[in-house]
Amino acid sequence: MLLEQIKQILGESGDIIKLDFMTGGVSPRAATIIAVDGLVNTRAVGVEVIEPLTLHGITWFAAQKEESNVNEIVRSILSGDAALIFDGEEKATVFDSKGFSLRGISEPGQENVIKGPKDSFIEAIRTNTALIRRRLNTPSLRLVDVKLGKEAQTNAVVVYLDGKAEPEKVQEVLKRLEKVSEKFIKSTSSIEESLKDSRWSIFPQVMYTERPDKLCANIAEGKIGILVDGYPLAFVVPAVFNMLFQSGEDYSQNYAHGSYVRLLRYVGAFLSLIIPAFYVAITTFHHEMLPTNLMLSIIKSKQAVSFTTFLEVFSLLVAFEILIEAGIRLPKSIGQAVSIIGGLVVGDAAVSAKLISPAIVVVVATTGICGFVVSNGDLANSFRITRILLLVSAGFAGLYGLSLGLIFMLYYLCQTTSLGAPYMTAYKDGDSAIRDGLLRLPRGRHKTGRN
């Protein structure tokens, strides 16, 4: 019997509500309501399902459907729906009566802008899809439901504009999401790695955003968005390199300021990659490039330091990374104080103790500051790894090694793809590189729909 099967599958959990009652009306029947306490809106079920059934033998709950598949019924119950099963029946009526606690729509945590919307995605997928519907009020907006995780069957939605997004790419996204092999979606990486063309790449091939307006802007350009229940962000594919340098602020400011800030990001990113490697190369292999006074100053400042320049830079970079990680984990109340202690006091003490030279502190501090200019967190993390690789190559062969490293990195970026789209497609020619790549030209001069 269906009811027995459902009870067997759910087991004896303390939060499973199993209410047996008799319906009223002309032909009273025994029925059972099964729901999960905490997920279901018990008041709605009580007032709009049980009460009218008990009194009149009918119910006027709007969102309901009939389901005979026991697995689907169980999934619905575990999602927050209430299932009504009459004795002897082999089908259930499932009421969409979710009532779990939700966080309210708040300001984005990391992608805040001055001139722009202040709402962001939350964990509930239907609220998120509603935010998108409000902005893209077009019948060509498509939201395809998918289930992720072999056991968890987490709800996800693929969002795209019919007629704008390439159908092959949409099908490819759906295919990749179906292939998510994990039983439970433990983190966003499960979804990201399934969408990537190359899982071993250290550069992000999927962009994430917590802003509905940013997602809608990308969807309007023909990109595909993926929302996952339980995660307050959306994924955008294909994500090409220049997208990771864009920020919502660029488009809400005057184009000149937007272009200036975007160029600043590129310059900051480049400097954060090469400054440590360049410093090691110059001071270890190419002294002749240093002006005499600077060379003498560096020699004097390094006189009592026992370690090589490469070791100094490498160890301080690692210390800086540790400081960043520690800063993330620390409680907010003491995080700032510890950062100041770590940065200023320990750094100063290390210089006084002749463990490192003052110039190295300047180099690493500048590198860190330039690295924070990159707006996309995944790209910034990639640069943190790449910077160390370039440092090692410069430590081997000076500027030649640094050049080889940069060439290899450029080659790697050029042959990376995201859902088949070349990663560096925005820079394929001067025109596209300037319009919405390196600069942000005034509206009306952007080409859209590029993947």
């Binding site: 002294h287 330091v305 080889l404």
Partner: protein
């Protein structure tokens, strides 16, 4: 993935092999570098060339905690300047940073033999800077390095032109300017360094010019002739003239015009050269005879210009650029004269007209 690993491995192996073969830059900690400030080149009779250096080594700190920098000199011989430098580098206990050399000194004998050989060595060394100053030493460059080290008078070179105690009477020249002059092919001058007694010890100071003609040293221009040379060629923004009784004036905005006079019968025959020199004079000290100052000053300047003209004729070398001017103005006549221009110039009378305005 496998392909990427193989590619990285191949690159790594190639780098390792080429590093061992020294195709890659050599790694040296900057603290091991000892900066060289002066690089001298001389001709050596037995070996061929001698290279000398003045370098600095930090040897600790004094009571106040400041670094005590000691300067030293060293030299080595070799069949060529490059070989001598290599010998010196190998003997050097630490890393010799020649890239910091601010001054190149070329000895008199070396410059007299073939200046191009030594400048070529300096230009081809990719660690040396083209903006270093260059001097021709009236003597041996190695001796100049030794004196600069022992007397600690490197600052004289550093404050060149502004050192109040000794008037350099010459303008500094950077190495790339010398290369440019050599590429031009005509005669030119290079600042000279001389050994001079000062307060009981021998020091090295810039004084006058060395005249380079045909790619080799032809002679030297003494300080009094050098002043006239500076006026004629606008090498100095200003020049100070001192009269016998202590009066002094500063000459500014010197302008020169050179005219050529041709024989009336044969227009291709050069009859004479007229040099008109005009400038502004700012009196520093007239020594009480304002009305005669201008006449006396013009006389002194005339004498100085005469000296430089006489020097150029004596050396048989037109380093004043008169021939170049003739070439630009009268190219057809120049074609007939250029083959023996130095001889023609030596025999052509030069008239000098001086005019000045006293402020």
């Amino acid at each position: 993935m496998k392909q990427s690993i193989i590619t990285v491995l191949i690159v790594f192996v190639v780098i390792s092999v080429m590093s061992s073969a020294r195709y890659f830059p050599r790694m040296t900690e900057i603290t091991l570098a000892e900066p060289v400030f002066v690089l001298g080149i001389d001709k050596h009779e037995e070996a061929g060339s001698r290279v000398s250096i003045l370098y600095e080594k930090i040897e600790g700190a004094d009571e106040g905690g400041d670094d005590v920098n000691q300067k030293y000199t060293d030299f080595a011989e070799g069949s060529s300047p490059a070989a001598a430098l290599e010998t010196l580098k190998k003997r050097f206990p630490r890393e010799m940073a020649v890239s910091t050399a601010e001054y190149f000194l070329i000895g008199e004998e070396a410059a007299g033999e073939n200046l191009e050989k030594y400048t070529d060595f300096l230009a081809r060394n990719n660690t040396l800077r083209l903006t270093s100053s260059i001097f021709i030493v009236r003597g041996e460059a190695a001796e100049a390095c030794r004196i600069l080290t022992e007397t600690r008078t490197l600052d004289i070179l550093r404050n060149y032109g502004e050192y109040s105690g000794i008037n350099a009477i010459s303008r500094s020249m950077e190495f790339y300017e010398l290369l440019s002059e050599m590429a031009g092919g005509s005669a030119f001058t290079v600042p000279a360094l001389v050994f001079k007694e000062h307060s009981g010890e021998i020091i090295v100071v810039p004084s006058g010019y060395a005249v380079i003609c045909g790619g080799a040293l032809a002679g030297f221009l003494e300080p009094d002739a050098a002043r006239g040379y500076n006026l004629l060629t606008n090498k100095s923004v200003y020049s100070t003239v001192e009269l016998a009784d202590g009066a002094a004036a500063r000459l500014e905005n010197a302008r020169r015009q050179i005219r050529f006079e041709w024989n009336e019968d044969d227009k291709n025959l050069l009859k004479g050269i007229v040099i008109d020199v005009s400038f502004n004079t700012r009196i520093i000290d007239s020594a009480g005879h304002d009305s005669l100052f201008k006449k006396e000053q013009n006389r002194v300047i005339y004498a100085e210009i005469q000296k430089v003209i006489a020097a150029s004729k004596k050396l048989g070398c037109d380093f004043l650029g008169i021939g170049e001017l003739l070439r630009m103005r009268h190219p057809v006549r120049w074609e007939r004269l250029q083959s023996c221009w130095n001889e023609i110039y030596a025999g052509t009378p030069v008239k000098i007209n001086i005019s000045s305005e006293v402020r």
